[in-house]
């Protein structure tokens, strides 16, 4: 039963479908805001376009560059995919507890985030192209910049809840959401998420007009399909984390006595919050231009780190 939960609902399959839905929503919102129509052929309103893209890419031939590290290039993408896929099953969806809860799973989730970036830089370096080498340099600089504000902003809810497990944090939010006492933390988390996801204004490691495909330049076929899927899954993962930490997870305004109905309602609440956070990220992403890596580092070190520290102090005082 637990295995079924892990693999189907609310586990991997469920989130992979949400990842596809996120990509569709991202493309559609961006398109509509720019006066275009976006995907519209595959499926109703083009809903199946991301799936079609994935299948097409996965069925293509993978070209491995001559001087690249073949072992890493072959086995790296599944490992890269594993990072958000493992992290996401710790997110509580149907109730206050996730499928496999652990008293310290917040730390594990943070490790997964770091591991994802590590895999990305490893993949970029092993491809051994000039563009990917530069991109990895940028990726690492960006990582060192955003990681501290990200972790600091994650600590605030943990302190408020007095708990280091995601389930505990969600339970602590049954009365009020932590976004009310930690609004700056939420904002910093969203900005750091944009950096983690390499979305504008922080799409510096994958800036196509400067370094072609970023660290993904030398990827093709199956590997590229999985890398892209992983990016979408990370998208869902970070949005879900924001929902869990700041927006009360699956907690909703109305409680039901019937257990199944409660599960369904919890899932619906969670999804609504998830897509709202996702939508927020899409809008921010569409409204901004890409900044330079030095500007990004400056932003994170001089503005966001002090801000999140101030938030931390505030939270400690509140408590």
């Amino acid at each position: 039963m637990q295995l079924l939960q892990l693999l189907v609902f609310p586990g991997l399959t469920f989130f992979v479908w949400i990842a596809f839905a996120f990509e569709w929503l991202e493309r559609k919102t961006a398109a509509r805001m720019q006066g275009r129509v976006g995907p519209m052929i595959a499926g109703p309103f083009g809903l199946l376009q991301p799936v079609a893209d994935f299948l097409k890419l996965a069925s293509k031939e993978q070209i491995i560059p001559k001087h690249s590290e073949k072992f890493v290039l072959t086995w790296g993408p599944p490992l890269y995919f594993a990072a958000p896929a493992i992290g996401i099953i710790f997110i509580p969806v149907i109730g206050n507890e996730s499928i496999i809860g652990h008293p310290l799973d917040l730390l594990f989730v943070l490790f997964v985030l770091a591991f994802s970036t590590l895999m990305a830089s490893l993949l970029g370096y092993s491809a051994a192209g000039r563009y990917s080498t530069i991109a990895v340099g940028r990726l690492v600089v960006q990582y060192t910049s955003y990681e501290i504000p990200l972790i600091l902003s994650v600590i605030s809810p943990a302190i408020l809840a007095g708990n280091l497990s995601l389930g505990g944090i969600v339970s602590a939010q049954s009365n009020y959401w932590f976004i009310l006492s930690a609004p700056i933390g939420f904002a910093v988390f969203i900005i750091a998420s944009l950096a983690e996801l390499e979305k504008p204004p922080f799409d510096i490691p994958s800036a196509k007009t400067e370094i072609v495909g970023g660290w993904m330049t030398d990827f093709s076929g199956n590997a590229l399909a999985y890398v892209k899927l992983t990016k979408n899954l990370s998208y869902v993962f970070l949005s879900a984390l924001a929902v869990t930490l700041f927006l009360g997870g699956p907690n909703g305004p109305v409680l039901f006595h019937q257990i199944i109905l409660q599960y369904v309602m919890n899932t619906i609440y969670f999804m609504v919050k998830l897509f709202s956070v996702g939508f927020l990220i899409f809008v921010v992403k569409t409204a901004l231009a890409r900044i330079r890596i030095d500007q990004a580092a400056e932003l994170f070190w001089t503005i966001l780190t002090p801000l999140s520290l101030a938030q931390l102090g505030l939270v400690i005082l509140l408590r």
């Binding site: 006066g35 275009r36 129509v37 409204a287």
Partner: protein, 131 residues
Amino acid sequence: MSKKRIGKALGEMFKTAMEEPVTVKYPFGAVIVAERFRGKLDVDPIRCTGCGVCEIVCPAGVITMVPVGKRSIGQREIEVKKPVFDLYTCISCGQCVEDCRFGALALTNKFELAVFDKGSLIMKKALKVVQ
């Protein structure tokens, strides 16, 4: 100059999202071209006298005059020529239309000239009338 701030484009973004998208769903919907649009060349076989001016002025070498028969004027017999149009090289400049004093040539507003067989774009309309 207005003050610097982040997210200046947000208002316009939501405004645009409310408007109709400008995308023309081309293969599924028609594209409306202007009245003066210079598209595919068309010839009126009856008006064409086969004078050959169009062949001389064409900058892209679309037009070749081919002999279609003989005609006698008094004692002399002269070759009658009519134009064949290789429309796949046509650049739709309209120089031949301008220089045709008989008004036999015109540019239509058709623009879908992509074909699998290049030969289907060779227009031999003007030849048929004589034969």
